[in-house]
């Protein structure tokens, strides 16, 4: 049976300055490993002082390239985020959804040009 695992961003980064892509990558790897085991993840923003889109794109945005929006909505949640941080996170999530939808369209267009059948995905 799957369970929900709580992770603290500040515990992974080491302090409340959550700004670099490298630190975002550490959060991403942790979340990814939990999700791949079939569990849910509760991401705590407790203690976060500074937060950038660079960090969030790496930490959470990338997940939309690995899982569907429905899966993420069902298995990922956040707590302890300030209003300002929620706003920044929302921007990044909306951007990630657009980005990976665009990626699909790009692949589809490229395949059309190359004469590859999308359904066969060959």
């Amino acid at each position: 049976m799957s369970e929900q695992i709580t992770i603290g961003i500040v515990n992974i980064v080491g302090d409340g300055i959550c700004v670099s892509s490298d630190d975002g990558e550490k959060v991403y790897e942790t979340v990814l490993s939990i999700l791949k085991l079939g569990n849910g993840v509760l991401i705590s923003f407790a203690g976060v002082e500074d937060l950038t889109t660079v960090f969030l794109n790496a930490a959470i945005g990338q997940l939309y390239g690995q899982f569907s929006e429905e899966e993420i909505r069902a298995r990922l949640s956040v707590i302890d985020a300030s209003s300002q941080d929620l706003e920044t996170l929302k921007h990044c999530i909306d951007r990630a959804k657009e980005y990976f939808k665009d990626a699909d369209r790009f692949v589809s267009s490229a395949n059309k040009v190359l004469g590859v059948d999308d359904d066969n995905n060959s």
Partner: protein, 295 residues
């Protein structure tokens, strides 16, 4: 250029954070690149420099390996450079900044550790209780710090700089403005876009492209939001944003947008944010976002 056969003498005049200031820097850059011998930098005409402009000046002076000597260092412009540490690498002792309004000039040479060094820099200089800095609301200070981090991380990732990243700031208590510049010695916006997106565009168009939320990132990680959100923050704050890359000068202020060309190429890119430190708004949307609906 005057000087002897062995040295070329170049005179610096006043440098402000505007189109004219960056024009002077690009012309200085051209002179330095053209100089084949040692260079003597005459500061006698430098009555003023906006302290933050030491960052792009650092990029310009970092070009080439010619010997450089600074002379006639008595003007007020030089005083600013002594207080913010710009002249320390040239052997001048850093002067005490009694008013605490300078934010140290720093050259982040090793981009491998630049991220952690810049974290320390921001933590040291932009704390709520830091002497000399204005009392900003926690919301404004947070947005300002985050903007600096976004700009710096962008420079590390996208500039392809081989000479590091330069930073410097200045607070103007009477005007209640704080100016901060981050400059890289990289390839510029247009070449970055061409390299990573295979799109060719004019230098001004490249800045607009970046500020519109586009990204040069490829692969599994999205991007492109940082500069757009910074511009939005500056708009709400009624501050000013100046972006320089290649021959393009872009400025946003409450008065409007200026997009101008520079006579020569700036050897990298510069982002300058000027904030209104008296701003008291909360920087939150009036309609609160629910954590339950965020994904």
């Amino acid at each position: 250029m005057a000087g002897t056969a062995e040295t070329a003498s170049i005179s610096l005049s006043d440098i402000r954070t505007d189109h004219h200031g960056f024009t002077l820097l690009t012309l200085l850059s051209e002179k330095l690149v053209a100089a084949t011998a040692a260079v003597e930098m005459d500061m006698s005409q430098l009555n003023w420099i906006d302290g933050n402009m030491c960052a792009p000046l650092g990029v310009v002076l970092a070009q080439g390996t010619r010997r450089m000597r600074i002379c006639n260092t008595t003007g007020e412009g030089v005083g600013i450079m002594k207080r913010n540490g710009f002249l320390q690498p040239s052997g001048y002792r850093k002067q005490v900044d009694l008013r605490g309004t300078t934010i140290a000039y720093t050259h982040f040479k090793d981009i491998g550790i630049g991220s952690s060094e810049f974290r320390d820099y921001v933590s040291d200089h932009f704390r709520q209780e830091e002497k000399g800095l204005p009392t900003m609301t926690p919301a404004l200070l947070k947005r300002f710090r985050e903007a600096l981090f976004e700009i710096f991380e962008n420079a590390l990732e996208h500039s392809y700089t081989e000479r590091g990243v330069f930073a410097c700031g200045q607070y103007y208590p009477t005007k209640q403005r704080l100016d901060f510049s981050i400059a890289d010695a990289g390839i510029g916006f247009a070449r970055n876009i061409e390299r990573n997106k295979e799109l060719t565009m004019a230098d001004n168009a490249a800045i607009r492209w970046a500020l519109s939320g586009n990204t040069c990132r490829r692969g599994g990680r999205p991007g492109g939001l940082g500069l757009k959100l910074i511009q939005e923050f500056i708009r709400l704050n009624k501050g000013r944003l100046v972006v320089v890359s290649d021959t393009a000068y872009y400025e946003w202020s409450p008065v409007g947008v200026k997009e101008l060309s520079l006579p020569r190429r700036f050897p990298g890119s510069v982002m300058t944010i000027e904030i209104n430190t008296a701003d008291k708004q909360s920087y939150c949307l009036s309609s609160e976002i629910s954590a339950q609906d965020i994904f």
